[in-house]
């Protein structure tokens, strides 16, 4: 079939004249415009216009009456909590990311190596907590963290904790949040990676076995390289997720009545500027800073994992 297509393709190319090629190109441009139009509209309304607005807003002066240069950035960066919020996020990421990457890859490989039915049911169990994303996961953890009710109360008693406020003390927060994120997110990535592993053509795996590769050899030289784009994407998305942390420290702070700083993450600081200090330019500046940080990280990962690479 492939050869036939190629032959037909060649004969047609030879016959086409320059104006015809131009016509085809114009039509293609038109087709592409039709196909991308709905998305472009959403991109404008949900992404570009608000982003542009944040940049413009961040360059206003504090009274929002005129141009303020970088003064709002100076206000935000000069805030005594500024560095602390980024340090907090970095701590969470240091605990969470290695755990997540290792566990997701190992579990996906193990599931992939298992018989269909058993593997599928394990994958389903790992995914279950994913249904508890966001506030639902938080509710579950509120119960897990409370020594009075927790099914893991032996753990808290082992540490000598007797109340929620002792468990959720600020020093433990990076670990608690990392555990929350690990619990809710790992299964989803196992599902994604299993999809990637399933997509590997059988011929490739058989060829590797014929060449005498061991099970480890196949994992190392066939499976891992094939899911590498997904690993890059996973790292990227989760780094970004780390920087948007808000819900967990915010609500945990509320239920422990001020035990945790209401400005624990950069986003909480931004939120404080917007809704409590009512300094919109500073809130916008904080948003732009966060945007640049996540974008820098993102581009690095994209570059290294060859995401969106043009093969043609």
């Amino acid at each position: 079939m492939t050869q036939q297509v190629l032959v037909r393709h060649r004969s047609r190319t030879r016959a086409s004249s320059a104006p015809a090629v131009r016509r085809v190109r114009a039509r293609k441009g038109h087709a592409a415009a039709v196909l991308v139009a709905p998305y472009v509209l959403l991109l404008l309304v949900g992404g570009l216009i608000p982003t542009g607005y944040a940049v413009v807003k961040s360059l206003q002066n504090e009274a929002e009456t005129g141009f303020g240069g970088l003064s709002s950035y100076q206000r935000v960066a000069g805030d005594f909590r500024f560095v602390e919020t980024f340090a907090n996020v970095a701590l969470v990421l240091c605990v969470w990311m290695p755990l997540l990457l290792t566990a997701a890859v190992v579990l996906a490989l193990l599931v992939d190596a298992s018989p269909r039915r058993f593997g599928a049911s394990m994958r389903f169990v790992y995914y279950l907590p994913g249904a508890f994303a966001g506030i639902a996961n938080f509710m579950l953890w509120l119960f897990l963290l409370n020594p009075g009710q927790s099914p893991v109360d032996f753990l808290w008693h082992g540490f000598g904790y007797t109340s929620l406020n002792e468990v959720a003390q600020p020093g433990n927060l990076p670990f608690i949040i990392a555990a929350m994120l690990f619990f809710q997110g790992t299964g989803t990535w196992v599902v994604v990676l299993c999809g990637g592993l399933n997509g590997i053509p059988d011929e490739l795996l058989e060829a590797a076995k014929m060449d005498g590769a061991t099970a480890w050899g196949v994992v190392w030289s066939v499976k891992l390289p094939m899911i590498r784009p997904w690993l890059g994407y996973m790292t990227l998305l989760n780094l970004a997720y780390g920087f948007q942390l808000f819900l967990e420290p915010q609500v945990l702070g509320q239920v422990t009545h001020g035990l945790i700083s209401p400005q624990w993450t950069p986003n909480q600081l931004s939120f404080t500027y917007a809704y409590q200090i009512l300094d919109t330019p500073a809130a916008a500046a904080m948003s732009v800073i966060l945007l640049l940080v996540t974008l820098g990280l993102g581009l690095l990962v994209v570059h290294r994992s060859r995401l969106f690479q043009d093969e043609r």
Partner: protein, 287 residues
Amino acid sequence: MLSPRLGRIGRITTLLLVAAAFAYPLLAFLAVAFRHDDGLASTGPTLDNAADNWQSVLAFNDGVFLSWLTNSIIVASTGSLIAVVAALPAGYALARLRFRGRRLLRFLTLLTMVIPNTVLVIPIYLEVSAVGAVNNLWVVGLLMGFFPFGVYLAYIHFKTTLPNQIVESARLDGLTDVQTFFKIALPISKQAVALVGFFSFVANWTNYFLPLVLLPLSNSTTVSVGLQQLVSSSPLFDPTNAAGLDVRLYAPHLALATLVTTLPVLIVFVLAQRYLVRGQTLGAVKG
């Protein structure tokens, strides 16, 4: 080197242990929903208790919980429907067509994909309130329809699983690019539709910030924001405020309400699961 048998035992043990570690907290949480607790005494799990707890959740603020659930369903389904309708053709065009602005669009997709969505919440709020559309469920649904990750998934899908020769032969048969998308590419893309629909539905359902800011009225918001209202009015965490309420919610009520909010996500997962993991589009090439 491990013997195959030892390897097999190790693999099964690891998978089962991890499964137990994930399932145990969930099961324990599930059991709480079936307990009775009125702040004075608590009793073991029974079905009757769960039914009573459910009545209390429903009674809270004249059944606001059901309104929250309805709002969530409207917003999340609208959002994922729009996401699928926009992402599939866009992903196809990015992967298979050459057009001016393609690189830019790809770059912008990537850019908006990595922007934490909360970064945009305040600017989006200003944009929406400028056109007077705050407190409108459909506007929230529309905004949730912007799902660059879905475009990326569709892009990867068409790039990796749609063979070039199929597209080329469709072109030679006289189909336009738009026709090729609808008649050839879309019918073999159930998996991509499921992926985009599934991920966007879950993201919409669990979204907390957008509804928090764009649906500020307490009974017109979604269930994710609503759950937090339940927690903050529980005597467990705010005894003074809760003393004045008719319906007092304790751990079992909160657990039950939480479990109910996770059901739609589970249902969608079960519906989408077979597409999520099967690389079935490969069949078109192999066959």
